[in-house]
Symmetry: C2
Amino acid sequence: MKLDFPRYTERFGAINLGSVQRVYELDSGKSEEYHKTHQTIRKICDEELSEIFGKLAIIIPIKSEKLKLLEGVLSGVPHDCLVIIVSNSPRHPVDRFKIECDTLKQFAHFVDRDAIIVHQKDPGLALALQELDYKTVLEGKVVRDGKAEGMIVGMLIAKMMGKEYVGFIDADNYIPGAVNEYARIFASGILMSSSPYSMVRISWIYKPKVSQDGLYFAKWGRISEFTNKYLNAMISHYIGFETEIIKTGNSGEHAMSMKLAELLTYSSGFSIEPYEIVNIIEEFGGVFPSKYPEIIDKGIDILQIETRNPHFHEDKGAQHLKEMLRDSLFCIFSSNLCTPNIRQQILKDLKTNGILTGRKQPKQLNVIKPFKEVNIAEFSNIVGKRSSTLGFYGSGLNRQMQTLTGVV
Amino acid sequence: MKLDFPRYTERFGAINLGSVQRVYELDSGKSEEYHKTHQTIRKICDEELSEIFGKLAIIIPIKSEKLKLLEGVLSGVPHDCLVIIVSNSPRHPVDRFKIECDTLKQFAHFVDRDAIIVHQKDPGLALALQELDYKTVLEGKVVRDGKAEGMIVGMLIAKMMGKEYVGFIDADNYIPGAVNEYARIFASGILMSSSPYSMVRISWIYKPKVSQDGLYFAKWGRISEFTNKYLNAMISHYIGFETEIIKTGNSGEHAMSMKLAELLTYSSGFSIEPYEIVNIIEEFGGVFPSKYPEIIDKGIDILQIETRNPHFHEDKGAQHLKEMLRDSLFCIFSSNLCTPNIRQQILKDLKTNGILTGRKQPKQLNVIKPFKEVNIAEFSNIVGKRSSTLGFYGSGLNRQMQTLTGVV
């Protein structure tokens, strides 16, 4: 990989918000000479990437996405990353989850790679969380529906496997080469951060739109424009200089160090990605006193890196976009950081887009508390014994899971 | 990379035609264990790929393709490959070639990579070929129009730069990650061949079609079906067993060892890709006596490897497809290997598709003789002194070109 250093950085309390970094080469070769001569572009060697991949879990939330796409995504994830699939696909009338397991098993068998799959509605999983007093993602005897909830399950499993970093990649991507680039960007960003508390967010170079005239390479998604605008308005308000630094408010493809991930409060549903930024600002922006003064010293790095590959993915339709817009703007609206002025503008946009009608106010934000306090050894133990859906593939993983869960 | 060994091979004289090989992983990690346990899947390490990249020139023929696409393609080519752009873009009223040079220069400057660009109509280039008695690609005082002619120019420059392998990638590809995969496939195929005379042809997993209903992931291009059918019919006739081995008759993305490339006779225009197969069969299939008995001993390997990435590229319209179909089938029709029965079927298909009308017969095939005999030291010398368009970028290349061409 060869990519920019951030050209400028907005500093907000303990947070370093980097400007979007451009990728120049996907594969930057083995020559060592480059390091010395360039001061604004960083070359990342294969060995450096490989070292991070070994510590990185790629979490793939899936809900009835086409298996052909899942297969493609799997082929793009670097071999040394641990794949964790969290499925919320229906099990009746056709057991989609079983088909997903078969697909993963076949793939893992052919390439001998480490991979884990679990169903979000596994009662054993919910039981473990119940017993460890982490009920924030539960609804009755199972984990709630929702992408955020699936991501939390994935992160708990990554932590149980001893991974130091987590990255998220959606299962509906058409381009295996783009998936491969995401993982390389995650690792590059992690390497470029100087703090143990880091986040890497993907900015897409283009999001092509399919129409009868062919393809149009749009620069921005329809939702991102709104989300970025309000996140930037909020940041501008506090730092006192207008900024357009945030370009990745809705980036589903992003990565974090486990140290940062386990501290964050998450929001339910589709607002998880923008809310990560909101929550980081709430916790570490210095506007409110922080619960973690020791972290304030180290700083939090948020890197935004633009892909070379365009983002070709399944079109989920207008209803999904409306829900995303609603959830994304609600989570900004609900923050204590949000000013009355910005709240008014958000309400106006929601009304203009037919999402809020009349005098209705946005509903309460559903938040998920940090998972740092979950006793992860106990979690392994209970999940290992009681889960009915956890599958793990790969020769190394088999042994590791036996040790972790105590189940042979 | 992790990919199949060919599951079966058709042997035709000295030629080994491998069945399509599947790619399982784009990045197969650093663990060494895999080598020992798998007998049907080959793992190719980064170091192995990197070694081939250093000997591989990627030739990109370009004719007014969008510069955004060229930039994307460049970012996907591995750094250690030498990029050679052969442009046949118009120079009036806007000098497109100059813009291409600027784009390449800017890119090469940022990433410090080796790259060469030349215009197909450079009079100095034609002069060199004239003086060295290689008039087969000339028309008057310049190189003829045509993709094949551009490819020959690229191969001559690759040979002058001492490269051992050449690979071709079209400039109209939307997906940098796919370009990166092509290069990795080229190198993998070269590594898997046991002969110094090797060819690697790309088979696309899907060629998506854009329509108003969205994307449809078609398996085959419209022309390939015809080309493959007739190439297979011809091969079946001689080996006496029906075969469908050829799946890459029109593969623009392919690579060869220089040792093989310099021996082949090429056909002009759009039939160059299928004619490579036709000519290899003519020379080495054992039906006619070979001019190269020493090569018959070593064998010729043709590998066909299927990408993980779909092939998203510019739609060139119906007229272009008709020309491609015509040229592709003409070159099979014209071969001495073609049987009267296959000729009749080809004529029928050409008529059905509105390409031949009435009693007209296909025109004579325009062939380009092998470039093995071109004195490459003299070629460097003349081109270095007389070319008005040759540009070379990258710190290493600068020195090498001075030595080669004697021009400081």
